[in-house]
């Protein structure tokens, strides 16, 4: 049984089907990359998985049971953490307070929550910034803070939405390393990423969508050579060459 199963997921905004009958599953322990051009429905898929949006039709199973009737916070408590593409730091709290607030998902005392937060900050290489206000972090730090907060809720599955966007090359290597570290710690990852270097090097499998519909799925190699994917990314002419 897959850890997460997305079954015939459809999400419509008025007449627009941002996600249209998409089916995929994420196996325990793997990194599944979700790719597609701008506006193809990747973030919407994430928002449906954690019920940030209610889904129009289809189903989402986590560890075999449907989660589509749960509330967003209950899904986090079940074990799905997420980051936001447009980062949402708790601006006027320090980095440590941000992560501590998340740690309370699993523990009740401030002592335990802080201890866990400090461990996570170390893991995400944010220890030096722990007393800074979240709003004072540069974008690289904010992206890592997004990940740290999601990790602090002790997820079994983490959804990473473009956590490498806007990073410089050295930060990018750090981000790749961090994602691998997360996988090694036993957490399953569903990741959306535009930067091909990142997605191709870390994904075990890739699921590609365009206009809300699946166009390919397979190993990074297979997907990179798939004509439909090349067409979606580079236009029709290139595919015919």
């Amino acid at each position: 049984m897959a850890l997460l199963e997305v079954k015939n997921l459809t999400k419509a905004f008025g007449g627009l089907k941002a996600v249209n009958n998409v089916t995929f599953s994420v196996e325990k322990g793997e990194i599944l990359g979700l790719i597609g051009p701008n506006g193809s429905g990747k973030t919407t898929t994430f928002n449906c998985i954690n019920q940030f949006y209610s889904i129009t039709s289809g189903d989402i199973l986590f560890k075999g049971s449907s989660i589509k009737n749960l509330k967003t916070h209950q899904i986090c408590q079940r074990g799905i953490g997420r980051t936001f593409q447009v980062v949402k730091p708790l601006a006027r709290m320090t980095v440590l307070e941000n992560v501590t607030a998340s740690s309370f998902c699993r523990v009740n005392t401030i002592k335990e929550a802080q201890k866990e937060a400090i461990r996570i900050l170390e893991f995400c290489n944010l220890t030096k910034e722990k007393d800074k206000l979240a709003k004072s972090l540069p974008i690289g730090g904010r992206k890592r803070l997004e990940i740290a907060r999601a990790l602090a809720t002790k997820p079994e599955l983490i959804l990473l939405d473009e956590t490498a966007a806007g990073l410089n090359p050295s930060e990018l290597d750090e981000a790749i390393e961090l994602i691998k570290k997360i996988q090694n710690s036993g957490i399953t990852i569903l990741i959306v990423e535009h930067i091909m270097k990142v997605i191709m090097s870390i994904s075990d499998r890739i699921h590609a969508i365009n206009f809300g519909q699946t166009i390919a799925e397979g190993t990074p190699q297979e997907v990179a050579n798939n004509p439909a994917v090349i067409e979606a990314y580079l236009g029709e002419e290139y595919a015919q060459d």
């Binding site: 954690n50 940030f52 509330k71 967003t72 916070h73 209950q74 986090c76 408590q77 953490g81 997420r82 936001f84 949402k88 730091p89 708790l90 601006a91 006027r92 709290m93 307070e97 501590t100 607030a101 998340s102 309370f104 998902c105 009740n108 005392t109 401030i110 929550a113 907060r149 999601a150 602090a152 809720t153």
Partner: protein, 320 residues
């Protein structure tokens, strides 16, 4: 940390011996009213400052607390001191209802509902004469002739309120409240039941505000709808106490309460009789100017901007 504790202990001792040293009823009265505002301001601050749910109608909770104590006494003969407990609980029930209606929605619904709620309760208290005696108000016998017992009750209530909020803010609840204020969507995605925790914050806030209202009933021995459900004397004043002292700080509303009661009294009494009488008519205007001043120069309130105040005052004093 140590220095702070020492300051608090000294402050505590001063407050404890104050009514024994300063025998004037007038000054004791002002401090009692200030204590009451510490409670209301701190409660408002928990909800608006820390949790980000701005209430424009804390008069609703204050008035319900006051009327609960008053009605229980006039109708059932229950001591209005018990009424302090029941007043808090009754306000909490109102809070529960308001929260249940508003907190599932996003946006300005809560602010608007509290604004309307205060007015609705004022109208109910005015028109339900068989229960409230309407515009006539409720008059009871004061328990004590001296102000000193009231002083200590008010001090205890203020201390318990501020200390409780301090404890809450250092717990899981406090972290959740601030997370909700900062970003409700992020909070929800991080496992926080935002609806539940907004309600918890509102319940604590309405409980203490209701107790303050019931205390007012006991102390003043007279209430009417125009006073205890007043938009500007209670609801707006609660906001002013919060922002002048400093929102989202523990001691801010306490400082704000003393400053605002001082300002209010100074103008009400036309600078203690030294200024022309018309000054006292302009106190609403002065409140407005004060808010503009605070927002422009002390956006974080007196406590929030304390280091800035110290720096600037020091600079003025330093020669050269």
């Amino acid at each position: 940390m140590k220095k702070n504790n020492l300051t608090l202990i000294i402050l505590g001792i001063i407050l404890l011996i104050f009514p024994l040293v300063i025998r004037s009823d007038y000054y004791q009265h002002l401090i009692i009213i200030a204590f009451m505002w510490v409670v209301i301001g701190s409660s408002w601050n928990l909800l608006a400052g820390y949790t980000g749910q701005v209430s424009f109608g804390h008069a609703m909770f204050f008035g319900v607390g006051a009327y609960t104590a008053g009605i229980l006494f006039t109708k059932l003969g229950i001591s209005p001191w018990w009424g302090m407990m029941f007043g808090g609980i009754a306000s909490m029930m109102i809070g529960l209802f308001v929260g249940w209606v508003c907190f599932r929605l996003r946006g300005p619904y809560f602010a608007l509902a509290t604004l309307a709620g205060g007015e609705i309760f004022r109208l109910i208290a005015t028109n339900w004469e068989s229960l409230t005696d309407g515009m006539v108000g409720i008059l009871i016998m004061q328990t004590f002739r001296s102000k000193i017992p009231y002083y200590y009750v008010a001090l205890a209530l203020a201390a318990v309120c501020v200390y409780s909020i301090h404890i809450v803010m250092q717990s899981k609840w406090g972290y959740y409240f601030v997370s909700i204020r900062e970003d409700q969507d992020a909070a929800e995605s991080l496992g926080i039941n935002t609806t539940l925790y907004k309600n918890i914050s509102l319940l604590i806030s309405s409980f203490f505000t209701g107790m303050a209202g019931a205390f007012y009933m006991n102390y003043m021995a007279f209430i009417d709808p125009q006073v205890v459900f007043s938009l500007h004397y209670i609801s707006i004043m609660a906001i002013l106490v919060g922002i002048v002292g400093g929102v989202a700080t523990i001691m801010g509303p306490a400082v704000g309460a003393f400053v605002m009661v001082g300002v209010q009294e100074t103008f009400r009494s036309a600078f203690f009789g030294l200024a022309p009488k018309w000054i006292s008519e302009s106190h609403a205007l002065v409140f407005g100017l004060l808010v503009i001043f605070v927002i422009m120069f002390l956006a974080n309130g007196i406590v929030g901007d304390w280091s800035k105040i110290k720096r600037n005052v020091f600079k003025i004093k330093a020669p050269g």
